[in-house]
Symmetry: C2
Subunit: 217 residues, 2 copies
DNA sequence: AATGCCAGAATTGGCGCCACTATTGCCGAA
DNA sequence: TTCGGCAATAGTGGCGCCAATTCTGGCATT
């Protein structure tokens, strides 16, 4: 069985395409933290050459999505509890800056977020879909900030923990809690109460962290 | 004339070596912002193959040291005033966190910093050396923090502006000001006054930014 | 039975090559 | 003379190959 990776989001550009594909496999937990990435096999699986994949892995290594050891190749990045906490601490500060820098979103932007959140609520039975939509929801908000560089770095920090977040969501009993938190954030966003928004985002974030930590071996 | 890059800091490992070399060329302003990086020539110049260089450039691209355009290759990253300010704003927040997280450095660590600063003072007539030592001084401080991930990201943000900083230092009249600022920071570090340290580092940093901005075209 | 060692297999590291795309410089028409 | 188009050239994108290193499984030794 030849498995072609989902090329839904792949416009073109070999390396970017490859990086996106591998990133997506990691986020979807089809490649697990700590797992060895055999270049030859992975390249075949993605339908491209090893050299191209190599460049992608190098990029992902700088992004900390994978770990590189000389002469031993790449493995999916694995985080300990300590590192995970540092990661979330970073996001505490960066997302605070981002959210404070957002001027009131347009009607259209706001509607998009509301709709996304409704889809999250509706997908409560499908953890994978919840995670995907949740990512889209949060990343979209980051992009509303004029602080381009920080937004990009934050996106990276967000994605770093994605595989772990995905696992914790799977085992979450009441997945409607996520959408409920988002409701609160959206309300704060709508009335333009920056402090409230930051506070609610913080709470939402740490609820996530609290779910993740116990899953870390 | 065959030019071999300075292999002082290059342990081994093709790609890392290449990335370090290119980074060092950019920081030293031997490759200027906006400049096209022709892979073939650069590979020859560094004494390695184009494919290996390619991986390095890919990594540097994620680090934002270079910019990539599809089918047009890589150029040395170029920052506008707006971006530069964002970069420094990032460092405001990240270096604050780092400095606050540092527990009092050991005698030995402290002595190293003092000595470095004396060398900066002594090298006042040699701008390039001042820049190199200054980098070493600041990066070393970052590494004292237990916040490993943030320290690494901050190192990256620091390096991103290095080429611009190098230029502004060259045209600086009284280069002893830099060492004087460091004196103040070291004093705060020694007496363990975290707030004072953060404040003085802030002032130092923005003096740097104020010098850089006018040099941006 | 456990441990150290050695050859074979598997995997990574680095390189040169060819196809494709962008750039350039030239030439002819307006 | 200037501008638009076209061919030659330069440079990037992607691939397969071979050397070097690491891993693995079997064998001998204690």
């Amino acid at each position: 069985m030849v498995e072609v990776v989902d090329d839904s989001q792949l416009a073109a550009g070999g390396v970017e395409r490859a990086a996106a594909a591998v990133r997506s496999l990691i986020v979807a937990r089809r490649l697990l933290p700590g797992e060895q990435l055999r270049q030859d096999e992975l390249a075949r699986r993605l339908g491209l050459s090893r050299s191209t994949l190599r460049e992608a892995l190098q990029a992902l290594s700088v992004e900390r999505m994978v770990t590189y050891t000389r002469n031993r190749g790449y493995t999916v990045a694995r985080f300990g509890a300590e590192e995970m906490q540092q990661l979330y601490q970073l996001r505490d500060f960066s997302e605070k800056l981002l959210l404070e820098s957002i001027s009131a979103p347009s009607e259209e932007e706001f509607a998009t977020l509301v709709e996304l959140n409704e889809r999250i609520r509706a997908a409560a039975e499908d953890p994978r879909e919840v995670v995907r939509l949740n990512d889209e929801f949060h990343l979209k908000i980051f992009d509303y900030s004029p602080l381009r560089i920080l937004a990009e770095e934050t996106r990276r920090w967000w994605t770093m923990s994605a595989a772990y977040r995905a696992l914790s969501v799977t085992t979450l009993q009441d997945r409607s809690l996520i959408a409920a938190d988002h409701d609160g954030m959206l309300e704060a966003l709508r009335i333009g109460d920056s402090d409230l928004l930051v506070q609610r985002a913080y709470k939402h974030r740490h609820a996530s962290l609290d779910r993740i930590i116990p899953t870390i071996i």
